[in-house]
Symmetry: D3
Subunit: 239 residues, 6 copies
């Protein structure tokens, strides 16, 4: 199966320790051994936030801040590449084309951000669409898609399953309410929708659980199904 | 004044004739002579649509289609560059950095699309933000921002003035309703919002009117004002 | 067999319809399945002519016009790449080196123009020479090499077979007479001559016939043979 | 005046000594001080021939040999850049675009070859056309354009003046006769013809004479005039 | 005066706070206003060390670690660029050529590392040599060049002045003793020596003192003088 | 076994003749056939020295001279590539990353210099470290590592075997004495030391002997062993 895994920066390297990165590499290597074709997109996490905050104080505009964030995602990518050793493309892929070429020659491409004003959420979806992936997995710091921001609203429910249309509507709603954190951003949701691609949003703090979701389809997060696939509201459940 | 002008592809070269491109070049040259610093972003228009349709039939995915669209925007950019002669950077700027360097050395940068999954609407806003433009002008095929799609809903009203927040809300609503054409896309609206940048949306079929809007602030389109600026609903008017 | 196929723009996409491109892709895929190593160079066709005419009116010089033409050849290349799907290198090869690397890793490289003042005829010959191709095929809008321009001179005869020296002499003559269209340009003819490479010039409007020429050597066009190969004037025939 | 000077490799650095390069730099600096806008294209000369011969023995094909030649032209360009110091663009321009940008920011661009299957003669003409030069000067190892190869045919006459059409016809004739050396190649002649550009072909062994030709129009070589300019056959003279 | 300033990463952004970066920007802007031509090379500091340590645990080899370090130096460079605003080249210069071009067009280039196995100490010296700088300033975490590592050996003396030869000998000695920290590395010292360039090594924790050293030549660090310049051992003094 | 071979320019092409290059190609092809993974770094040799001398007279600084030297190393690399034909990456690898990608896809990468202020000695060591080579071979113009410069000091002894620490100490000593030629430079020695990599320094004038050293470990040069490996001073012997 061709899978793109989007690993949030704070999930991959919460405090720049090697452990979590090692675990991700081990999980990806096992999937690679089982014959899956893999691409990875990593986020910026705490280092990105730190640099961005300082640069903002120094007068950088938002696009310049995005460029700093992109540079940090690629630094994080280098950590994962070091851990994946010879299986990964030796440097972070800076464009979708580079990533696709790496995938075609049998390497695991590791991407970070690609361009200002586009999050790694969106990069993940676009890259998955570009390589015609069978599955897109968001390994994030929240354990799925919720009806509201679970950090704010204790009544927020986690979806077990939803359609891409439902995802887009939900994210659009969440983004309209300042302060609400959506698990993926609207552009990512729309790309998922237009591509008719299966996606999973789940807790990325357990790399082995991420691998299991890919291997067996079983996980505690949210399945996003292409529109037209039967979805049963009874499948929805509390978090 | 530093101004980024976003010229839709069907507005710049409706049928690939030289006339309209010449008029745009003349209008931009006059502004350049008056001391304005200018950047231009051009869209894809009919040639892009034609190539994209054919490529879609041939099995290209959406990202590949975006890349084709980007290539056409740069072709259109070459037409404008030819007409602007020595005033323009000699080739279309492929990144925000390239465009910014051109601007700094006194050339008029002409950009097209920059990356898949990002429209030239969004590129225009991001580039304007990147170079700290004073004004962003969308010269489009519709004469402003309407409360609904004027081609569909005869009761659609054109806004004379609105805040960036109002723009974001409106576009988000329009995008939720399939078939409704928004004058700029949601990402562009959000960039305008976060940058606190003045923007104008107006009919691009009269290049001289576009220049006049920049020169005098007078136009028949819609002014988008940074949040916090006083906006008077009484200023809203029918189309 | 290693073959470079030069497909004229008006032959590949006469009116930007998908059909012809699909047929070319099918023909190339069959050859690929049979074990041939393939490289393709595509021309500019009607879209190139349209953009070039407009840019010329706008004051572009010939080199700038060439650059516009090159951009369109690569757009056309993207159509063929879309149709060839995973068999083609994912983006048009912009240099001979890129094309050669694609070929070496088992992809079908699709090139357009490479540099100003060099036609895709010449690019095809140079690329064929660079990769040491066994055969170069020009799939053009005329059905072979004629003793004169068949559109002008009803007495023009099609050659069934000729030497590279004869081709160079003929093209040199044709190019001296303004208004005469040569099937390939002089630089291409000279590269064929110096490389000692077999070439075929034939009607490109039937992709299946192009494939058959490669597969069996049988076709209704003109064989250009390396100098020193026996050529029998009796083989020359009327069109 | 905007001038492109094409300096043959064996003229610029006959035996890799610094003297001739210094003289060229001095001549160009004087012209620069007088307000001329200058671009330079340098050839390969003896080092190129030596490497090419060895690479040919080692099995390189003609395109690979061209690439070696290009690399040497750029090495030679670095010598001239060293001598021109701060007036030149700091590295050889590898494309027409790079050269043009250097020219626009006030540097003297130094180009070598740009792409296989295109001589520095042709590069010079194409670059001159691209930047809309007023004059193109070929500083070569022969003192002008002759009716035949003066090394072979003692009856060869040097033209004092000729039209671009006459140049193209002459070169085409010379190229048809193996062993005849044309002072510029056919592609260069055709670009001169289509661009309607003034050109001078003269002995490059005296850099000061090259500068004088640019400064005063007086020289002992051959003037190539755009078609339509009055040319008087009586002006033709023996060498 | 043309000056290259090498700012250690832990000196520029000891804990990624904006203050120190702001102070450096202010000091550089004042020098820029006074007419000095400036280039800056920034180091990696604590973030580099953190990433490198993690990557080493993950199995990266030394060259890969160098690449990670380089990426961090450029991130740090982006902070300084943000603070310098329009005076700096908009992105970190990745090669000596890029930096030199920025300098020539009047921008302040900000470089980080350029290639593996070469420290930013060496980059600073090489860049200074490349642009023919009048002065190279190392703003480091130690207040000058000492006869031994002052953190280890309480008898270490700071040199007020020394020749390039003496610097090379001293650094060579220090590098032979594991654990001894040299203020600049041996390659840097050798480049200073061969270039015959003035250099200053001083405490970088007070940006204003760095500016004063450039402005007046007065400082509490060590002057490194080109060989042949009179140096008086009596000038040597305790730290 | 993964091996990086560093071939000095005067060893590869003493007088630009094809013979020696052919012999090297043959030796490398044999090793390739036997299953070794090979990377090659070539030096500049006499052509580099000639260009550098001329450029120095013309006023180039040391960094510019290094760039000229790098360009020549890549020219020499093209000779070897021509001779290796389809086994080599088609163009010289300009960065460590490029070289590594070539190696991973089964081609023999040929590198020259990569950046100013870094010799091909150092490039060889760094590239070997980057690709985790098992062995690094210096095929030089001296037949091993000597206790002093054998051209100057008749008492100089050749080491049969030494540790990396001993190599670093020796080279540091030699470099301190102007006029003494070290067989590899200090940076190279230090990289060998830190990488814990086996190295051989031997006479490169007999390519077959170089191949034999790789194949069997037997040679007349010097073995450099990682620290910690048992080394017996009794193994040291006269030249």
């Amino acid at each position: 199966m061709k899978v793109v895994v989007s690993v949030g920066g704070s999930v991959l390297a919460p405090d720049l320790e090697a452990d979590r990165v090692s675990q991700y590499a081990a999980a990806l290597e096992a999937l690679d051994d089982e014959g899956h074709e893999l691409g990875v997109v990593v986020g910026g996490g705490p280092t990105a936030r730190e640099y961005i905050q300082t640069a903002r104080e120094l007068g950088a505009n938002e696009i310049e801040l995005d460029e700093i964030g992109i540079a940090v995602t690629r630094l994080n990518g280098r950590l994962l590449i070091a851990a994946l050793d010879e299986r990964a493309a030796p440097t972070p892929s800076e464009t979708y084309e580079d990533g696709r070429e790496a995938l075609r020659r049998g390497d695991i491409p590791v991407l970070g951000g690609t361009v200002a004003a586009q999050t790694t959420d969106a990069v993940s979806a676009a890259f998955a669409e570009y390589v015609n992936a069978d599955l897109l997995v968001y390994a994030t710091s929240v354990p799925g898609v919720f009806s509201a921001d679970p950090n704010v609203d204790s009544a927020a429910e986690k979806y077990e399953e939803m359609s891409a249309d439902e995802l887009v509507d939900l994210i659009a709603d969440l983004e309209m309410n300042a302060g609400s954190n959506a698990p993926v951003d609207l552009l990512a949701a729309k790309v998922i929708q237009r591509a008719g691609m299966r996606a999973i949003v789940l807790d990325g703090n357990d790399p082995e659980a991420v691998a299991r979701a890919i291997r067996t389809g079983e996980h505690d997060g949210t399945d996003v199904l292409p529109n037209g696939h039967e979805t049963d509201p009874a499948d929805w459940t509390d978090a």
